[in-house]
Amino acid sequence: MFNWGLIRKTIHEGAILWLSCALGLFAFAWFRVWVVGKIDSQRFKQIIELLPKEWERFSAVEFDWLISYIGRTSLTLEEPMVILLITLWAVVRGSDVVSGELNRGTMEMVLAQPVSRPQVYWTQALITWLGLAFLCLLLWVGMAIAVETTVIKETSYPEIRIPFTYQKLPIPWGETETQLVPMRDVIQSSKFLPGVINLFFLGGFLCSLNTLISSLDRYRWRTLGIGIAMYFVAAMLKIAAMATPTLLFLKWFTFFTLLEPQLHIKSIEENAAAAWNWGLYRSTGEWNNLGPLGCNLALLALSIICLVIGSRWFQRRDLPAPL
């Protein structure tokens, strides 16, 4: 099925972009978690408390959880820089599969060899997915290294012991005491994995969607334009759905509904079995969102549909002469 020459060519073509994205993600993840360690939890709590309570609807998780170290570090996975780099890799490489080669005129020389169109298509698409997997792995490694190497300052208040009980109460007006604690004592880096996996499946879907558009088109610039436009429309639908309860239904029309890394981290942190949940429910029993399994499988299913349609289309279409 796979041809070593095609595999090498695909890796060669994507290598510089991959290295740039890998460096950016790794360094940013490390830096972002390190910064969390530099801000005292108590101060962050004060900042969060200043935010209007209704803003909580823009967050998939409660603000109280966000104040915790795991909440603040897991925000890394929703940082625009991270989403941008994952999207960049997925969109740029996905769009290159067919229309990129056609646009450069190299498709003709490749397909004149005894290699089938599905071979060319699936080699490029699967190597893009593989590249994405390694990018997500590096993102997690960056976060994990930061957790292992960062030391955090914990401020504690003097406490008084309630007579005849074992309970202690902090005295807020008392003199505070600051102590240094390794971040690994308060966070387990494995807890980030559900969020990273969710991000990987979103990247995979974006790659597959752009591969599909690429197989229908002959100009790379147009494929990129359509892919990016769809991305922004999906982002706007998600924001609109979160902003106004009357527009909540819009969340079913955007793939960003399936990107909830923090929610997945939180739910699995609270209950490890939630990793296998199709849906997540609030404490009131009300439906909250698709669960980790539901979101990831939905993204995977959409990706497979896009890739299969794209492959079949590419198999049958006429190949235009290079311009």
Binding site: N3, E13, G105, T106, E108, L111, A112, Q113, D318, A321
Partner: protein, 307 residues
């Protein structure tokens, strides 16, 4: 598992049957039928837009035929294109190669993609074409890229070589080397489909040529037959005697201007000269008819109609 099929020299290697490619009302290729036997160098001639590249792209399976079919070595060019591709090596009219690779990396790529492409052989061809392989494709001139593509294509040892305008962008020396390589390929028993605008090249290397016009095959000419044909331009000083009966059916005589006449004969020069010696002519010029005259017969008419 792919089907192994080695074409025998008795059956035609390429068979095109009523092949048509239409885009809406526009016919890029219409009802084209031809056969190409093994070992022939087959020329494709026609102006831009006549359908030469469309025919080649249909043979390569890049385009789905609207009707009709084409087969290479018995394999359908569209439905069994992978099997057909195993029998051929193709040089596109405008070969684009991977810009981020060096010349050597490009040749290595082709030798990895297909096991029948000999890397060492492609290096030798590149050397013969005086090509610097250490340079990135991005920094190569159009002619250098053409040479690189030729080195990759000619390194494949398969029965059919499809070359779409292979000498475009090449200097006269390299052009000569490429034509020599085509002759060597023929001597090795390979079949060559050679598309070109340069009539002299077609005359030099081809055994047979077809002329395409507006997507239709309008003429099929054997080059050896063509070489036997001659044209005489002269000024008659008196009415000409009737040609001998064996020549009468094939000879054509027409007035060029007030004084000169043109006599075209597809027969041997020997019988023509015997008749001419009896004709009252002066200022006699005798020349082979050549492909130009055949080509103009179809395409000058077309231009005249267009005017």
């Amino acid at each position: 598992m792919h089907q192994e099929h080695k074409p025998s020299s008795n059956e035609p290697l390429v068979v095109v049957d009523q092949l048509t490619k239409a885009y809406g009302d526009f016919f890029a290729m219409r009802d084209c039928s031809l056969t190409i036997p093994c070992g022939q160098v087959f020329g494709l001639l026609g102006p831009n837009g006549a359908g030469k590249s469309t025919l080649l792209r249909l043979l390569l399976g890049f385009l789905r035929p609207t009707s009709g079919r084409a087969r290479i070595g018995g394999f359908d060019c569209y439905r069994q294109r992978l099997a057909a591709h195993r029998l051929l090596s193709y040089l596109p009219g405008d070969p684009r190669l991977f810009r981020t690779m060096s010349g050597k990396q490009v040749l290595k790529f082709f030798s990895q993609v297909r096991p029948d492409c000999d890397y060492q052989r492609s290096l030798r061809i590149a050397e013969r074409l005086d090509l610097n392989l250490s340079r990135w494709v991005l920094l190569m001139s159009t002619g250098m890229r053409q040479k690189l593509a030729i080195a990759a294509v000619l390194a494949v040892e398969q029965p059919l070589l499809v070359l779409d305008e292979p000498t475009t962008n090449l200097d006269p020396t390299v052009r000569g080397v490429v034509l020599e390589m085509i002759r060597e390929a023929q001597q090795a028993g390979r079949t060559v489909i050679f598309s070109s605008h340069v009539l002299s090249e077609i005359e030099e290397v081809c055994d047979r040529v077809i002329i395409l016009r507006r997507g239709q095959l309008v003429h099929d000419q054997s080059i050896s037959d063509l070489m036997r044909q001659h044209r005489v331009i002269a000024v008659p000083t008196a009415p000409l005697p009737d040609p001998p009966s064996e020549m009468a059916a094939t000879i054509s005589i027409r007035k060029l201007d007030d004084q000169r006449i043109q006599i075209d004969s597809p027969d041997s020069l020997h019988s023509l000269l015997r008749w001419l010696s009896d004709c009252p002519l002066r200022d006699v010029q005798i020349q082979p008819i050549g492909l130009r005259a055949i080509y103009d017969r179809f395409h000058s008419e077309e231009e005249a109609k267009d005017v």
